[in-house]
Protein backbone atom coordinates (compact mmCIF):
# COMPACT_ATOMS: atom_id res chain seq x y z
CA UNK A 1 0.00 0.00 0.00
CA UNK A 2 1.41 3.28 -1.04
CA UNK A 3 1.74 6.03 1.63
CA UNK A 4 -0.81 8.80 1.76
CA UNK A 5 0.18 12.34 1.01
CA UNK A 6 0.03 14.06 4.43
CA UNK A 7 -2.61 16.73 4.56
CA UNK A 8 -3.39 17.19 8.24
CA UNK A 9 -1.26 18.62 11.04
CA UNK A 10 -0.76 15.21 12.60
CA UNK A 11 0.22 13.65 9.34
CA UNK A 12 2.68 16.44 8.58
CA UNK A 13 4.23 16.15 12.01
CA UNK A 14 4.49 12.41 11.62
CA UNK A 15 6.14 12.92 8.27
CA UNK A 16 8.68 15.19 9.88
CA UNK A 17 9.27 12.67 12.64
CA UNK A 18 9.98 10.06 10.01
CA UNK A 19 12.51 12.16 8.17
CA UNK A 20 15.73 10.21 7.92
CA UNK A 21 18.94 12.02 8.55
CA UNK A 22 21.43 11.95 5.69
CA UNK A 23 24.26 10.26 7.57
CA UNK A 24 25.72 6.92 6.64
CA UNK A 25 25.70 4.20 9.32
CA UNK A 26 29.47 4.28 9.60
CA UNK A 27 29.73 8.08 9.83
CA UNK A 28 30.25 7.91 13.60
CA UNK A 29 33.14 5.45 13.38
CA UNK A 30 34.70 7.49 10.56
CA UNK A 31 34.39 10.62 12.71
CA UNK A 32 35.92 8.81 15.67
CA UNK A 33 38.90 7.72 13.59
CA UNK A 34 39.42 11.23 12.20
CA UNK A 35 39.21 12.85 15.62
CA UNK A 36 41.69 10.39 17.11
CA UNK A 37 44.12 10.99 14.27
CA UNK A 38 43.81 14.76 14.69
CA UNK A 39 44.38 14.49 18.43
CA UNK A 40 47.33 12.16 17.96
CA UNK A 41 48.95 14.46 15.37
CA UNK A 42 48.32 17.50 17.51
CA UNK A 43 49.87 15.81 20.56
CA UNK A 44 52.93 14.84 18.54
CA UNK A 45 53.18 18.35 17.16
CA UNK A 46 52.86 19.87 20.64
CA UNK A 47 55.50 17.50 21.91
CA UNK A 48 57.81 18.44 19.03
CA UNK A 49 57.14 22.15 19.64
CA UNK A 50 57.83 21.61 23.35
CA UNK A 51 61.13 19.91 22.64
CA UNK A 52 62.08 22.59 20.12
CA UNK A 53 61.16 25.37 22.55
CA UNK A 54 63.12 23.64 25.28
CA UNK A 55 66.24 23.49 23.12
CA UNK A 56 65.77 27.08 21.97
CA UNK A 57 65.33 28.28 25.55
CA UNK A 58 68.34 26.28 26.66
CA UNK A 59 70.38 27.73 23.79
CA UNK A 60 69.34 31.30 24.62
CA UNK A 61 70.05 30.79 28.33
CA UNK A 62 73.45 29.34 27.51
CA UNK A 63 74.27 32.24 25.16
CA UNK A 64 73.14 34.82 27.75
CA UNK A 65 75.17 33.05 30.43
CA UNK A 66 78.24 32.91 28.24
CA UNK A 67 78.02 36.56 27.18
CA UNK A 68 77.39 37.62 30.80
CA UNK A 69 80.38 35.58 31.90
CA UNK A 70 82.56 37.07 29.22
CA UNK A 71 81.39 40.62 29.97
CA UNK A 72 81.50 40.35 33.74
CA UNK A 73 84.44 38.11 34.38
CA UNK A 74 86.77 39.01 31.57
CA UNK A 75 87.51 42.49 32.90
CA UNK A 76 91.24 42.93 33.39
CA UNK A 77 92.73 45.62 35.55
CA UNK A 78 96.37 46.62 35.64
CA UNK A 79 97.38 48.89 38.47
CA UNK A 80 100.81 50.26 39.16
CA UNK A 81 101.19 50.35 42.93
CA UNK A 82 104.98 50.57 42.72
CA UNK A 83 107.16 53.65 42.72
CA UNK A 84 108.50 53.33 39.20
CA UNK A 85 106.80 53.19 35.82
CA UNK A 86 105.78 49.74 34.65
CA UNK A 87 105.49 48.60 31.07
CA UNK A 88 102.67 46.37 30.04
CA UNK A 89 101.39 45.04 26.77
CA UNK A 90 97.76 44.98 25.75
CA UNK A 91 96.35 42.00 23.77
CA UNK A 92 96.91 43.93 20.52
CA UNK A 93 100.63 44.34 21.35
CA UNK A 94 100.16 48.03 22.19
CA UNK A 95 102.84 49.02 24.67
CA UNK A 96 101.76 51.01 27.69
CA UNK A 97 104.02 52.69 30.23
CA UNK A 98 101.86 52.96 33.29
CA UNK A 99 103.12 55.47 35.84
CA UNK A 100 102.95 54.97 39.62
CA UNK A 101 99.48 55.21 41.12
CA UNK A 102 97.79 54.74 37.74
CA UNK A 103 95.21 52.16 36.80
CA UNK A 104 94.17 50.75 33.44
CA UNK A 105 91.29 48.38 32.75
CA UNK A 106 89.70 46.68 29.76
CA UNK A 107 87.51 43.74 28.88
CA UNK A 108 89.65 41.09 27.26
CA UNK A 109 86.60 39.63 25.46
CA UNK A 110 85.43 42.85 23.78
CA UNK A 111 88.97 44.18 23.36
CA UNK A 112 89.60 41.83 20.44
CA UNK A 113 87.09 43.70 18.27
CA UNK A 114 86.81 47.08 20.04
CA UNK A 115 90.01 48.34 21.56
CA UNK A 116 88.62 50.31 24.47
CA UNK A 117 90.40 50.90 27.74
CA UNK A 118 89.69 52.94 30.85
CA UNK A 119 92.50 54.86 32.43
CA UNK A 120 92.86 56.70 35.65
CA UNK A 121 96.24 58.30 36.13
CA UNK A 122 99.15 58.64 33.70
CA UNK A 123 100.36 56.48 30.89
CA UNK A 124 102.33 56.55 27.69
CA UNK A 125 100.89 54.57 24.79
CA UNK A 126 102.55 53.17 21.71
CA UNK A 127 99.48 51.99 19.84
CA UNK A 128 99.77 49.32 17.16
CA UNK A 129 97.78 49.45 13.95
CA UNK A 130 94.40 47.76 13.96
CA UNK A 131 90.88 48.48 15.14
CA UNK A 132 90.21 51.98 16.55
CA UNK A 133 91.83 52.42 19.96
CA UNK A 134 90.03 54.55 22.53
CA UNK A 135 91.23 55.51 25.99
CA UNK A 136 88.52 56.70 28.37
CA UNK A 137 89.25 59.04 31.26
CA UNK A 138 86.75 60.73 33.59
CA UNK A 139 87.13 64.06 31.77
CA UNK A 140 86.94 62.74 28.22
CA UNK A 141 88.25 60.19 25.83
CA UNK A 142 91.17 59.92 23.45
CA UNK A 143 90.64 58.19 20.13
CA UNK A 144 93.81 57.05 18.55
CA UNK A 145 94.24 57.35 14.86
CA UNK A 146 97.59 55.45 14.76
CA UNK A 147 100.12 57.00 17.06
CA UNK A 148 102.10 57.23 20.24
CA UNK A 149 100.90 59.57 22.92
CA UNK A 150 101.07 60.40 26.58
CA UNK A 151 98.08 61.13 28.72
CA UNK A 152 97.03 61.51 32.28
CA UNK A 153 93.58 61.94 33.58
CA UNK A 154 91.88 62.46 36.89
CA UNK A 155 88.37 63.41 37.90
CA UNK A 156 88.86 67.08 37.05
CA UNK A 157 91.55 67.17 34.40
CA UNK A 158 92.84 65.41 31.30
CA UNK A 159 96.21 66.02 29.67
CA UNK A 160 97.14 64.52 26.31
CA UNK A 161 100.42 64.97 24.48
CA UNK A 162 100.72 63.36 21.06
CA UNK A 163 104.17 62.12 20.09
CA UNK A 164 103.51 60.87 16.59
CA UNK A 165 100.58 60.23 14.29
CA UNK A 166 97.25 61.69 15.34
CA UNK A 167 94.83 61.35 18.23
CA UNK A 168 91.37 62.71 18.77
CA UNK A 169 90.48 64.04 22.22
CA UNK A 170 86.81 64.19 23.04
CA UNK A 171 85.37 65.94 26.07
CA UNK A 172 81.67 66.60 26.27
CA UNK A 173 80.61 67.39 22.73
CA UNK A 174 83.91 68.91 21.68
CA UNK A 175 86.45 66.95 19.67
CA UNK A 176 90.03 68.08 19.13
CA UNK A 177 92.52 66.37 16.88
CA UNK A 178 96.15 66.43 17.97
CA UNK A 179 99.02 65.90 15.58
CA UNK A 180 102.58 64.98 16.55
CA UNK A 181 104.02 67.26 19.26
CA UNK A 182 100.65 68.87 20.04
CA UNK A 183 99.20 68.73 23.51
CA UNK A 184 95.98 69.83 25.15
CA UNK A 185 94.72 70.10 28.68
CA UNK A 186 91.09 69.84 29.74
CA UNK A 187 90.14 71.15 33.16
CA UNK A 188 86.70 70.72 34.66
CA UNK A 189 85.28 69.90 31.27
CA UNK A 190 86.74 73.00 29.58
CA UNK A 191 89.32 72.26 26.89
CA UNK A 192 92.37 74.53 26.83
CA UNK A 193 94.14 75.77 23.75
CA UNK A 194 95.96 73.23 21.62
CA UNK A 195 99.71 73.97 21.78
CA UNK A 196 102.90 72.53 20.33
CA UNK A 197 105.86 71.16 22.22
CA UNK A 198 108.10 68.58 20.57
CA UNK A 199 107.65 65.33 22.39
CA UNK A 200 111.33 64.49 21.89
CA UNK A 201 111.98 67.24 24.48
CA UNK A 202 109.54 65.52 26.80
CA UNK A 203 109.37 67.34 30.03
CA UNK A 204 110.19 64.57 32.39
CA UNK A 205 110.99 61.00 32.96
CA UNK A 206 108.46 59.53 35.27
CA UNK A 207 111.05 57.65 37.28
CA UNK A 208 112.88 60.79 38.35
CA UNK A 209 111.94 64.08 40.00
CA UNK A 210 113.76 66.10 37.40
CA UNK A 211 111.68 68.04 34.86
CA UNK A 212 113.56 69.44 31.87
CA UNK A 213 111.99 72.07 29.65
CA UNK A 214 113.33 73.64 26.50
CA UNK A 215 111.20 76.56 25.31
CA UNK A 216 108.16 74.75 26.68
CA UNK A 217 104.83 76.61 26.84
CA UNK A 218 104.07 77.69 30.42
CA UNK A 219 100.79 75.77 30.28
CA UNK A 220 102.72 72.54 29.69
CA UNK A 221 105.14 73.29 32.53
CA UNK A 222 102.26 74.03 34.89
CA UNK A 223 100.47 70.80 33.83
CA UNK A 224 103.60 68.78 34.62
CA UNK A 225 104.15 70.57 37.94
CA UNK A 226 100.52 69.97 38.91
CA UNK A 227 100.88 66.30 38.12
CA UNK A 228 104.27 65.94 39.85
CA UNK A 229 103.32 67.89 43.00
CA UNK A 230 99.72 66.71 43.02
CA UNK A 231 98.39 70.23 43.46
CA UNK A 232 96.12 72.53 41.50
CA UNK A 233 97.88 75.63 40.24
CA UNK A 234 96.06 78.73 39.10
CA UNK A 235 98.55 80.47 36.87
CA UNK A 236 98.12 84.10 35.84
CA UNK A 237 101.05 83.99 33.37
CA UNK A 238 100.43 84.11 29.64
CA UNK A 239 100.04 80.41 28.78
CA UNK A 240 101.85 80.87 25.46
CA UNK A 241 105.01 82.19 27.17
CA UNK A 242 107.79 79.67 27.00
CA UNK A 243 110.06 78.37 29.74
CA UNK A 244 113.49 76.79 29.60
CA UNK A 245 115.03 75.21 32.62
CA UNK A 246 115.33 72.24 34.96
CA UNK A 247 113.01 71.79 37.92
CA UNK A 248 113.44 69.29 40.73
CA UNK A 249 110.00 68.36 42.03
CA UNK A 250 111.61 66.30 44.80
CA UNK A 251 112.18 69.58 46.59
CA UNK A 252 108.50 70.36 46.72
CA UNK A 253 107.35 73.93 46.36
CA UNK A 254 110.92 75.16 45.98
CA UNK A 255 110.75 74.21 42.30
CA UNK A 256 107.81 76.60 41.92
CA UNK A 257 109.97 79.46 43.21
CA UNK A 258 112.66 78.55 40.67
CA UNK A 259 110.03 78.42 37.91
CA UNK A 260 108.56 81.81 38.84
CA UNK A 261 111.90 83.62 39.06
CA UNK A 262 112.41 84.42 35.32
CA UNK A 263 108.87 85.82 35.13
CA UNK A 264 109.09 87.76 38.36
CA UNK A 265 105.89 86.03 39.40
CA UNK A 266 104.56 85.65 42.94
CA UNK A 267 103.47 82.41 44.59
CA UNK A 268 100.61 82.25 46.99
CA UNK A 269 99.83 78.99 48.75
CA UNK A 270 96.12 78.91 49.49
CA UNK A 271 96.15 75.45 51.07
CA UNK A 272 98.03 72.20 50.59
CA UNK A 273 96.19 71.48 47.35
CA UNK A 274 95.79 74.95 45.83
CA UNK A 275 98.51 77.39 44.71
CA UNK A 276 98.22 80.68 42.85
CA UNK A 277 100.93 82.14 40.62
CA UNK A 278 100.43 85.78 39.69
CA UNK A 279 102.62 87.96 37.42
Amino acid sequence: MKPEIPNSEKEVLDAISNLELPFTPNSKSVARQRIMETIHNSENENEAIGVRLFYQAAGIALAIGLVSFLLLYQNKTIENIGETAMTCELPCKTQVSLYPGSKLSFNSFTYSFKRKINISGEAFFDVTRGAPFTAFAPQGKVRVLGTTFEMWGGNTHLFVHCQSGEVQVESGNKKTNLLASEFIQIKNGTPGVKRVYPYENRANKRDSNILRFNSAPVELVIAHLERALDVEIECGLDPATVYTGVLNTGRGEECLTIFCKPFGAQIQILDKDHITISP
Binding site: K2, P3, I5, P6, N7, S8, E9, V12, L13, A15, I16, S17, N18, L19, E20, L21, P22, F23, S27, K28, A31, R32, R34, I35, T38, I39, S42
Partner: protein, 176 residues
Protein backbone atom coordinates in the same frame (compact mmCIF):
# COMPACT_ATOMS: atom_id res chain seq x y z
CA UNK B 1 33.40 7.58 34.34
CA UNK B 2 36.85 6.41 35.21
CA UNK B 3 39.72 7.96 37.11
CA UNK B 4 40.40 11.70 36.89
CA UNK B 5 43.71 13.44 37.12
CA UNK B 6 43.84 16.56 39.25
CA UNK B 7 45.22 19.67 37.65
CA UNK B 8 46.43 22.97 39.11
CA UNK B 9 42.99 24.66 39.12
CA UNK B 10 41.57 21.83 41.15
CA UNK B 11 39.52 20.72 38.16
CA UNK B 12 39.64 17.14 37.02
CA UNK B 13 41.43 16.50 33.78
CA UNK B 14 39.57 14.38 31.27
CA UNK B 15 41.34 11.09 30.58
CA UNK B 16 41.39 9.50 27.14
CA UNK B 17 38.96 6.83 28.30
CA UNK B 18 36.48 9.41 29.57
CA UNK B 19 36.90 11.37 26.39
CA UNK B 20 36.03 8.32 24.29
CA UNK B 21 33.03 7.67 26.50
CA UNK B 22 31.89 11.24 25.93
CA UNK B 23 32.28 10.76 22.20
CA UNK B 24 30.16 7.59 22.24
CA UNK B 25 27.49 9.31 24.29
CA UNK B 26 27.21 12.65 22.55
CA UNK B 27 28.66 12.59 19.06
CA UNK B 28 25.46 11.61 17.27
CA UNK B 29 23.26 14.09 19.07
CA UNK B 30 25.76 16.91 18.54
CA UNK B 31 26.02 16.11 14.84
CA UNK B 32 22.20 15.95 14.53
CA UNK B 33 21.81 19.19 16.44
CA UNK B 34 24.14 20.85 13.95
CA UNK B 35 22.21 19.36 11.09
CA UNK B 36 18.93 20.67 12.50
CA UNK B 37 20.58 24.04 12.78
CA UNK B 38 22.14 24.19 9.33
CA UNK B 39 20.60 21.47 7.14
CA UNK B 40 24.12 20.72 5.84
CA UNK B 41 25.18 17.13 6.45
CA UNK B 42 28.89 17.38 5.66
CA UNK B 43 29.18 20.70 7.45
CA UNK B 44 27.50 19.22 10.54
CA UNK B 45 29.90 16.30 10.62
CA UNK B 46 32.93 18.59 10.26
CA UNK B 47 31.79 20.95 12.99
CA UNK B 48 30.89 18.08 15.32
CA UNK B 49 34.38 16.65 14.87
CA UNK B 50 35.93 20.09 15.46
CA UNK B 51 33.90 20.41 18.66
CA UNK B 52 35.31 17.11 19.94
CA UNK B 53 38.86 18.09 19.03
CA UNK B 54 38.30 21.34 20.93
CA UNK B 55 37.02 19.34 23.90
CA UNK B 56 40.29 17.38 23.95
CA UNK B 57 42.38 20.54 23.67
CA UNK B 58 40.59 22.06 26.67
CA UNK B 59 40.43 18.82 28.69
CA UNK B 60 42.52 20.33 31.50
CA UNK B 61 40.22 23.32 31.98
CA UNK B 62 36.74 21.88 31.77
CA UNK B 63 34.42 20.79 34.50
CA UNK B 64 33.66 17.12 33.88
CA UNK B 65 30.11 17.49 35.13
CA UNK B 66 29.22 19.85 32.29
CA UNK B 67 30.77 18.12 29.30
CA UNK B 68 27.46 17.73 27.48
CA UNK B 69 26.47 21.40 27.76
CA UNK B 70 30.04 22.40 26.98
CA UNK B 71 30.01 20.36 23.76
CA UNK B 72 26.73 21.89 22.62
CA UNK B 73 28.10 25.37 23.34
CA UNK B 74 31.30 24.74 21.40
CA UNK B 75 29.40 23.19 18.50
CA UNK B 76 26.93 26.05 18.41
CA UNK B 77 29.69 28.69 18.49
CA UNK B 78 31.75 26.95 15.84
CA UNK B 79 28.69 26.65 13.61
CA UNK B 80 27.75 30.31 14.08
CA UNK B 81 31.29 31.42 13.24
CA UNK B 82 31.34 29.24 10.19
CA UNK B 83 27.86 30.30 9.09
CA UNK B 84 28.95 33.93 9.22
CA UNK B 85 31.55 33.09 6.62
CA UNK B 86 29.36 30.93 4.39
CA UNK B 87 25.77 31.92 3.87
CA UNK B 88 24.00 28.58 3.85
CA UNK B 89 20.99 27.75 1.80
CA UNK B 90 18.63 25.55 3.79
CA UNK B 91 17.82 22.30 2.15
CA UNK B 92 16.59 19.41 4.26
CA UNK B 93 16.38 15.92 2.99
CA UNK B 94 13.42 14.80 1.05
CA UNK B 95 10.87 12.56 2.65
CA UNK B 96 12.03 8.99 2.68
CA UNK B 97 9.71 7.36 0.25
CA UNK B 98 10.63 4.47 -1.91
CA UNK B 99 9.64 4.63 -5.55
CA UNK B 100 7.46 1.74 -6.38
CA UNK B 101 5.88 0.54 -9.62
CA UNK B 102 2.37 1.06 -8.32
CA UNK B 103 3.00 4.81 -7.79
CA UNK B 104 1.43 6.87 -10.49
CA UNK B 105 3.24 9.87 -11.96
CA UNK B 106 0.53 12.11 -10.46
CA UNK B 107 1.19 10.65 -7.02
CA UNK B 108 4.93 11.13 -7.33
CA UNK B 109 4.46 14.72 -8.45
CA UNK B 110 2.14 15.41 -5.56
CA UNK B 111 4.63 13.86 -3.14
CA UNK B 112 7.45 15.97 -4.59
CA UNK B 113 5.36 19.11 -4.16
CA UNK B 114 4.67 18.22 -0.55
CA UNK B 115 8.35 17.57 -0.04
CA UNK B 116 9.33 20.99 -1.33
CA UNK B 117 6.64 22.59 0.79
CA UNK B 118 7.94 20.81 3.87
CA UNK B 119 11.49 21.94 3.20
CA UNK B 120 10.36 25.51 2.76
CA UNK B 121 8.37 25.27 5.96
CA UNK B 122 11.32 23.99 7.94
CA UNK B 123 13.54 26.68 6.49
CA UNK B 124 11.03 29.31 7.59
CA UNK B 125 11.24 28.28 11.23
CA UNK B 126 13.80 30.41 13.10
CA UNK B 127 17.07 28.59 13.93
CA UNK B 128 16.52 28.24 17.66
CA UNK B 129 12.96 26.98 17.27
CA UNK B 130 13.84 24.59 14.45
CA UNK B 131 16.64 22.96 16.45
CA UNK B 132 14.32 22.40 19.38
CA UNK B 133 11.45 21.22 17.22
CA UNK B 134 13.57 18.72 15.23
CA UNK B 135 15.38 17.45 18.33
CA UNK B 136 11.97 16.68 19.72
CA UNK B 137 10.38 15.26 16.58
CA UNK B 138 13.28 13.38 15.01
CA UNK B 139 15.49 12.50 17.94
CA UNK B 140 12.53 12.01 20.25
CA UNK B 141 14.11 14.04 23.02
CA UNK B 142 11.88 15.28 25.80
CA UNK B 143 11.64 18.98 26.60
CA UNK B 144 13.74 18.69 29.75
CA UNK B 145 16.44 16.79 27.83
CA UNK B 146 16.57 19.51 25.17
CA UNK B 147 16.68 22.17 27.86
CA UNK B 148 19.55 20.34 29.54
CA UNK B 149 21.58 19.96 26.35
CA UNK B 150 21.10 23.48 25.06
CA UNK B 151 21.37 25.16 28.44
CA UNK B 152 17.81 26.52 28.15
CA UNK B 153 14.95 26.72 30.58
CA UNK B 154 11.93 24.45 30.09
CA UNK B 155 9.87 27.55 29.39
CA UNK B 156 12.22 28.60 26.60
CA UNK B 157 12.00 25.14 25.02
CA UNK B 158 8.21 25.20 25.20
CA UNK B 159 8.13 28.65 23.66
CA UNK B 160 10.36 27.59 20.79
CA UNK B 161 8.28 24.48 20.18
CA UNK B 162 5.09 26.58 20.08
CA UNK B 163 6.71 28.96 17.62
CA UNK B 164 7.76 26.11 15.32
CA UNK B 165 4.34 24.45 15.49
CA UNK B 166 2.59 27.74 14.78
CA UNK B 167 4.61 28.23 11.62
CA UNK B 168 3.94 24.64 10.48
CA UNK B 169 0.21 25.01 11.17
CA UNK B 170 0.10 28.24 9.26
CA UNK B 171 1.83 26.64 6.29
CA UNK B 172 -0.44 23.60 6.31
CA UNK B 173 -3.53 25.82 6.45
CA UNK B 174 -2.22 27.71 3.47
CA UNK B 175 -1.60 24.44 1.64
CA UNK B 176 -5.02 23.02 2.44
Amino acid sequence: MGLFKKNGDNKEELTLREYEEAFDLYYTSIRNFLYFKTSQAEFSEDIAQDAFVKLWETRRKIDKTSIKAYLYTIANNLAINQLKRNQLKYKFLNLQTERRDDMSPEYLLEMQEFDEKLQNTLAKIPDGAREVFLMNRIEGLKYHEIADRLGLSMKAVEKRMSRALAIIREEIKYKV
